[in-house]
Amino acid sequence: MKPYAWSLGFAFILLGPVVGALLAGIDRRLTARMQARKGPPILQPVYDVLKLFEKDTLVVTPLQTLYLWGFLFFMVVSGFILFLGSDLLLSLFALTVSGIFLCLAAYATNSPFSNIGSSRELMLMMAYEPMLILVPLGFFLVTDSFRVSDIVSGSPWQVIQLAGILIGFLFMLTIKLRKSPFDLSSSHHGHQELVKGITTDLSGSDLAIVEIGHWYENSILLGWLYLFFAPWGPWIALPITVVLFFAEVLVDNTNARLTWSSTLKASWLVTVVFGVTNLALLPFIS
């Protein structure tokens, strides 16, 4: 493997959370502006996490911290594989395992709120996972390879060929980023029926681990989105990616929350209508 690829992989481990935190900060500022508020500083997510380390950690069960480290570990592994230019499918599986660990942590704490949160999270996984699997599959049919490095140097037409899959992926991105209308499992705003969902019983440094994990996740999802446009080179692809990423904030602010059953129906419908149809049509448009 080339030293360039290694450096990209390690850059992710170091800079991934920084980028993710900035994205989260800009997200909060944008949200505030859309609601005609001034909004917090861009670095607010960083302050939040540093503060959480100053707080005491209430331990409900020692297992929760172990599971959370599992969550963070597999999240980093997933991103490392992705940025190394390695197998996209493997990266996806690591991402899924990481999500399962978060659910385990929430189940371990026994609070009814986090239990409902994690069952909803599992439901959401069922909703988005089929579509996410279709993404590497689509790339494979277009570029004959699951390797990220091959996809990046693929044909510039791939985004046109995979347009349906891109739409499907953007839909699932809303779920992955826990945005409204799909913020069922752990909402960003308190005072709802679920309190804080998955993270209800996590405090102090445990909650900080979850936040850092989410920063990594932000970078990973941005990376996935980038892949669609990657053959056009970073100067064109990166701005498009960032704009699409922040379009999610607009969706977040203009939608009310769905129930889990309609979420499941909607996401499977999107998977079939956009994802599967796109795959079926691929032989004719390549």
Binding site: R28, A32, Q35, A36, R37, K38, G39, P40, P41, Q44, Y47, D48, L50, K51, E54, K55, D56, T57, L58, G190, H191, Q192, V195, K196, T199, T200, D201, L202, S203, G204, L207
Partner: protein, 149 residues
Amino acid sequence: MSFLKKSPWVLHYAATSCNGCDIELLACLTPLYDVERFGIVNTGNPKHADIFLVTGSVNEESRKVVENLYAQMPDPKVVVAIGACALSGGIFKDAYNVYGGIDKVIPVDVYVPGCAARPESIIDGVVQALDILEQRAKDRKRQRKMVAV
């Protein structure tokens, strides 16, 4: 520098208020005052909260809840009592079921007067609470070090 001052998360509980103070408190979150620009977030979860904002007087029903929420908040934490009711019982003081102010059941650090308390004075109260919070964080750190030694 403590980051607690930059990101205080508050928990709001209406003990037995008439909801006048609650409306004023929630007004702090609206675009006009927008306390989120100071990093203040209204969490509905005691385990994430740093500042406990209580409105209204305490009676037997709300006593349990207040004590429970206070116990569930991780240290360092501060309590701000908002409104005349939370300070002393206010106009409900003589009611047969009312114990009095919040400090009858949990230690209160900052008292914000008014009926209803104005959003400006609530924000001022929270700012004063931040200094106490920072001091507590320092003490807490020292305690932790001593335990470690």
